[in-house]
C-alpha cells in the first residue's frame, strides 16, 4: 500500500499549486474525493439545532458531545473498501478524511500536507477547491447542511457531490439515505467514471438563529449535481444509469409544451421548476419566483408585492412548484415569497406540484407540509394532493400543517 504521493516537487505554496504540479507530473486523476467535517453532527445530541459556528461547537463539547461524522464516514469507507478494495482516494488532510481513509486501507492522496488541529468552515472550502482543481469524479463529504453549503460556496456545482448523512440538519437533497448507500454510490462513481448518471439537487439550510428560537425558516442556497441512484434501485444494482430522472425531465418538457395561452404561470424556486423554464428556453431564477405568460418570461425573482401586482392584471393564473429540500415542505420553507396572499389569489386547485418519485417515497410518513403563516389557508391546503412524478405518473400525498 502506498502512502501520500512523493513525486515531483514538494508543494511550496497553496494546495491549488500543489495540485497543478501533481496533474502536470502526470498523476492519474483520482475519481473520488472525500471531506469529513469532524465536527458535523456534534450539535444534534446536545439539542442544539445545528453545529455551525465555533460557539455552538464549544457549547456542544461542553455538554459532552462527541463528533458523529468520522464514525459515519468510516462506515462508508469500510463498505466501499469491501466492494472495491484498496482504491485511490483524494482526501482532505488529517482528521478531515486522510487519516481515516488510510486506516481503512485506501491509497490516499491528501489535498494538503498540514492538517489544522481545529477545523473550520474555511478548511472545508480550501479542500473543496483542491478537489475541484483535481477534477474528481465524485466528491463525498460527511456532514450536514452547513458542510454542504461550505462546499457549494467554494465550488458551486462544478463537481458531482454526495453527502454521507452525518449532520444535525439535512434539508438539502444531497444526502444518501445511509452511510452504506453512500458507499454504493461511490462505488458507482469509481466504476462508471465520467458516465456516472447525475441529476440536480438543492442545497438548503435553515436559519440557525431562528431555529434555536424555535422557529423554522429554511433558505434555498443553490443547486448541485448528485449521482442519480434513486431508491427505486436494488442495492446490488446501484451504478445502472437510471430512468427516473429522465421521467421528471420528460414531465417538465411536457408542461412547457402544454402551457395554456393567456394564463400567467408562476414558477416556484428549485431545480425542478428550473427544468420547465429551461424547456421553455428561459433561464429561471433558481432561488426565486418567476412568471411566464405565453411562453415569455414576464417576471424574475419576484417579491410578494410584485407577484400580487402581476396577479392583479392576470386573472387566469397557475402556480407550478417543486419540493425544496428533503423534508417534504411544500410551502413555507425555501419559497417564502409564495405567501398566503399569493397562494390564496392563485387558488389551491390551480397549483401543480412536481417531484421525483423517489423523493416522495423517501418521506415517512408520506406527508407534505405547509406552513404559510395563515392557519386558515394551511387548513384549506391540507388533505390530499396529486403530485406529478412523470408524464403519466402521479402519487397521492397527504398535505398537513
Amino acid at each position: 500500500m502506498r502512502s501520500s504521493p512523493s513525486h515531483g516537487k514538494q508543494p511550496t505554496s497553496s494546495p491549488r499549486t500543489y495540485f497543478e504540479l501533481m496533474v502536470k507530473a502526470g498523476a492519474a486523476r483520482p475519481r473520488l474525493g472525500i471531506i469529513v467535517n469532524p465536527l458535523a453532527g456534534i450539535g444534534g445530541p446536545a439539542a442544539l439545532k445545528g453545529s455551525d459556528g465555533a460557539a455552538t461547537v464549544a457549547e456542544a463539547r461542553a455538554r459532552g458531545a462527541r463528533p458523529e461524522a468520522p464514525l459515519r464516514a468510516e462506515r462508508t469507507l469500510q463498505a466501499l473498501a469491501a466492494r472495491v478494495g484498496p482504491a485511490e482516494l483524494l482526501a482532505a488532510p488529517g482528521a478531515m478524511g486522510a487519516d481515516l481513509a488510510r486506516r481503512v486501507g485506501f491509497s490516499v492522496k491528501a489535498t494538503s500536507r498540514s492538517a489544522p488541529s481545529e477545523t473550520s468552515a474555511l478548511d472545508t472550502r480550501v479542500a473543496a477547491t483542491a478537489m475541484r482543481d483535481a477534477d474528481v469524479g465524485l466528491l463525498l463529504f460527511a456532514g450536514g447542511d452547513g458542510t454542504a453549503r461550505d462546499i457549494h460556496d467554494a465550488i458551486g456545482d462544478q463537481l458531482p457531490l454526495l453527502g454521507i448523512p452525518a449532520g444535525v440538519k439535512m434539508h438539502s437533497g444531497v444526502f444518501a439515505h445511509s452511510p452504506e448507500a453512500a458507499a454504493r454510490a461511490a462505488e458507482a462513481a469509481l466504476r462508471n467514471g465520467p458516465s456516472l448518471p447525475l441529476r440536480g439537487a438543492d442545497i438548503a439550510d435553515v436559519d440557525e438563529q431562528a431555529a434555536r428560537d424555535g422557529r423554522v425558516a429554511s433558505i434555498l442556497y443553490g443547486s448541485v449535481r448528485v449521482p442519480d441512484l434513486p431508491r427505486l434501485v436494488l442495492p446490488t444494482k446501484a451504478g445502472s444509469p437510471a430512468q427516473p430522472g429522465a421521467e421528471l425531465q420528460a414531465l417538465c418538457r411536457e408542461i412547457a409544451d402544454t402551457l395554456e395561452p393567456s394564463c400567467l404561470y408562476l414558477f416556484g424556486p428549485g431545480s425542478t421548476t428550473a427544468m420547465v423554464l429551461a424547456a421553455l428556453g428561459a433561464r429561471g431564477t433558481l432561488l426565486g419566483v418567476d412568471a411566464v405568460l405565453d411562453g415569455q418570461v414576464v417576471g424574475k425573482d419576484l417579491t410578494e408585492s410584485q407577484t400580487l401586482a402581476l396577479l392583479d392584471t392576470h386573472l387566469d393564473s397557475r402556480l407550478v412548484v417543486g419540493l425544496v429540500g428533503g423534508q417534504g415542505m411544500l410551502f413555507g420553507r425555501g419559497n417564502r415569497q409564495l405567501t398566503a396572499a399569493v397562494l390564496s389569489r392563485v387558488g389551491a386547485d390551480r397549483i401543480t406540484v412536481l417531484s421525483a418519485a423517489d423523493k416522495l417515497l423517501a418521506l415517512t410518513p408520506p406527508t407534505l407540509w405547509v406552513d404559510t403563516g395563515d392557519p386558515v389557508l394551511d387548513k384549506h391546503l391540507s388533505g390530499y394532493i396529486r403530485v406529478r412524478v412523470g408524464p403519466r405518473q402521479q402519487i397521492i400525498m397527504t398535505v398537513s400543517s
Partner: protein, 457 residues
C-alpha cells in the same frame, strides 16, 4: 401438510398463544367473510384415486402420436430428445423460484447457455431471457422499436399468422391511446407470397419505426432477399425486426447476417412438446448496442467474475429498467415467463450442434417439399407459393370442397389435416396450412396423399 399433525398443530397454536388458528384471521372483518362455505368436488386425497381420475379423463383425448397430424401455425410437432424430457422434470429446475447468484448458479449458467447458443444461431450478440410466446416477443419488439425511434408505425406483411397478429395488436394499444402503434400491412407478390418490395418502399416513411419481417412467414414463405428489405428499412431510419424459426437457421440466413436489428421467434421447436399450446415461448435478441439493450423489457443474465480469480458467475443485467426494478417507469413489464423451457432449449441446441441444425433444416425442407410436390398431384389441389420451409399453403378452391369438410373426412382416416385458413385469411378462399417436420416420414406423407385423393375423389 407437515404441520397438520394434530399434536404439532396444537404445539404451534400454543406457541403463538391462540386456541384455534381462526383467531389469527382477526384482520379480516366479519362482513368480508365468504357468504357461504366453499364447496368443491369431493377430494381425491389418495394418489391412487387422483391418478386414476386424471388418466381416465386425459385418456379421452386423441393426440398427435396416436394419429397423423399436419397441424402447425405457431405450435409444431417436432421430435423432443429424451435428454430434454429428463431435464424438464428434474426437481432442481422444475420447482424453484429465485435463489442467490451462488445458489442459483447452475440454472443461471443454463440460462446463459440458452442465450449464448441462440445468439450463435441468430448471429446476434445480445439475447434476453425468454418471454411468453413468439407473439409476445414480437409485441415487445415493436414497442422497443417505437421507443428507440420515437415513431409509431410498424409495417407488416398482409399475410400474418392470425394468433400472433392478435397478440401483437393488444401490445400496440388501441387507436386514440397515447402509445398507440399502427400495424400497417403491406401487400405481397401474388406469385410468391413474399413482401412486395416496391409497395414496401412506398409505405416506408418517417413515421415507420420498423419493418417486421418474418421468414419463414406465418404461412411458411421464405423471403428471397431479407438483406434488401433491411437496407430499405434502414434508408428510412426504421429498424428491421426479423421473425425467424430457429429450426430453419442451420439452412436459412440468420438475422445478423442480413442486418436485422432485432430478432424474435419461437422457442417451442427447440425441444419442447406442443403441450396443447402450453409449450410455446418466445425470444428477443439484438445487436449488443446500448440503443437496443436499454429498450429490453426482459430480464437477462450476464457473465460476471466472482471473488475467486478466474471463476465465472452470473448476475442480472439491466434489472433496473425492468418493471421489477422501476414499476411503471420500466420498459413494458415482465414477470414469470417460460424460464424452464430455456434450460430445455439450451440442452436441445447443445445436442444438435452445427451439424445437427444443418441436417434438421435440410430434412424438414426436403420432406415438406416432397409433401407439397406429391399433394399438388392430387386433382384440384395446388401449392400456393414456391419458396417455403416446414409449412406451406394448400389451395383447395378448385376442389369445390371446404377445408372443414376435407378435415372431417381426413380425421375419419386417422389424419389431422392442415390448419383451416378460410376464416383467418378469407382472401385465400378455401386454403389450409400444412406442416411437415422431421417427424413425418415418406410413408406418412404418402398416406396423406392417398387419403386426400380418396376424400376428394
Amino acid at each position: 401438510m407437515a404441520n397438520s399433525a394434530p399434536a404439532l398443530r396444537e404445539e404451534l397454536c400454543a406457541a403463538v398463544g391462540v386456541s384455534d388458528p381462526e383467531e389469527l384471521f382477526a384482520q379480516i372483518p366479519l362482513d368480508h367473510r365468504a357468504a357461504r362455505p366453499v364447496v368443491l368436488p369431493p377430494a381425491l386425497a389418495s394418489e391412487v384415486e387422483l391418478s386414476r381420475h386424471l388418466r381416465d379423463t386425459l385418456g379421452r383425448n386423441v393426440d398427435c402420436e396416436a394419429v397423423l397430424s399436419f397441424l402447425g401455425g405457431g405450435c409444431w410437432q417436432h421430435h423432443v430428445p429424451a435428454v430434454c424430457d429428463e431435464l424438464a422434470t428434474r426437481t432442481e429446475f422444475l420447482t424453484p423460484v429465485w435463489g442467490t447468484p451462488a445458489s442459483d448458479h447452475g440454472r443461471n449458467q443454463a440460462w446463459f447457455e440458452f442465450s449464448s447458443q441462440l445468439g450463435e444461431l441468430l448471429d446476434l450478440d445480445f439475447v434476453g431471457l425468454p418471454v411468453y410466446s413468439w407473439g409476445c416477443a414480437a409485441g415487445h419488439a415493436v414497442r422497443m422499436a417505437a421507443r428507440i425511434t420515437g415513431r409509431d408505425q410498424i409495417l407488416i406483411s398482409e399475410f400474418m399468422d392470425h394468433e400472433r397478429l392478435a397478440v401483437m395488436r393488444t401490445y400496440c394499444e388501441p387507436p386514440g391511446m397515447r402509445g398507440h402503434i399502427e400495424l400497417r400491412s403491406v401487400p405481397t407478390n401474388p406469385a410468391t407470397g413474399t413482401i412486395a418490395v416496391d409497395e414496401l418502399a412506398a409505405a416506408l416513411s418517417d413515421r415507420t419505426a420498423a419493418v417486421y419481417l418474418e421468414t419463414p412467414s406465418g404461412l411458411g414463405v421464405i423471403e428471397p432477399d431479407p438483406g434488401q428489405i433491411a437496407r430499405l428499412a434502414h434508408s428510412h431510419g426504421a429498424e428491421l425486426i426479423a421473425g425467424v424459426d430457429p429450426t430453419s437457421l442451420g439452412l436459412l440466413a440468420p438475422p445478423g447476417q442480413y442486418g436485422a436489428d432485432i430478432a424474435v421467434g419461437p422457442t417451442q421447436p427447440l425441444g419442447v412438446h406442443m403441450n396443447c399450446g402450453g409449450g410455446v415461448g418466445g425470444f428477443i435478441a439484438s445487436r449488443d448496442e446500448e440503443r437496443y439493450a436499454r429498450a429490453y423489457p426482459t430480464l437477462q443474465v450476464s457473465l460476471c467474475p466472482t471473488s475467486k480469480q478466474g471463476e465465472h458467475g452470473f448476475a442480472l443485467t439491466l434489472f433496473q429498467q425492468s418493471s421489477y426494478g422501476s414499476r411503471e417507469l420500466g420498459n413494458d413489464w415482465t414477470g414469470n415467463s417460460v424460464y424452464l423451457w430455456a434450460v430445455v432449449n439450451a440442452a436441445y441446441m447443445a445436442l444438435l450442434g452445427p451439424a445437427g441444425f444443418a441436417e434438421l433444416g435440410e430434412l424438414i425442407l426436403a420432406r415438406s417439399r416432397y409433401a407439397a410436390t406429391r399433394l399438388a398431384e392430387v386433382p384440384g389441389v395446388s401449392v400456393r407459393w414456391p419458396w417455403f420451409f416446414k409449412e406451406f399453403v394448400l389451395d383447395f378452391n378448385e376442389t369445390g370442397r371446404t377445408v372443414a369438410e376435407i378435415n372431417v373426412a381426413l380425421r375419419e382416416r386417422g389424419i389431422f389435416g392442415g390448419g383451416d385458413l378460410s376464416l383467418s385469411h378469407p382472401q385465400l378462399g378455401q386454403a389450409a396450412l400444412y406442416c411437415v417436420t422431421e417427424v413425418h416420414t415418406q410413408h406418412d406423407i404418402d398416406r396423406l396423399v392417398t387419403a386426400l385423393t380418396e376424400v376428394l375423389a
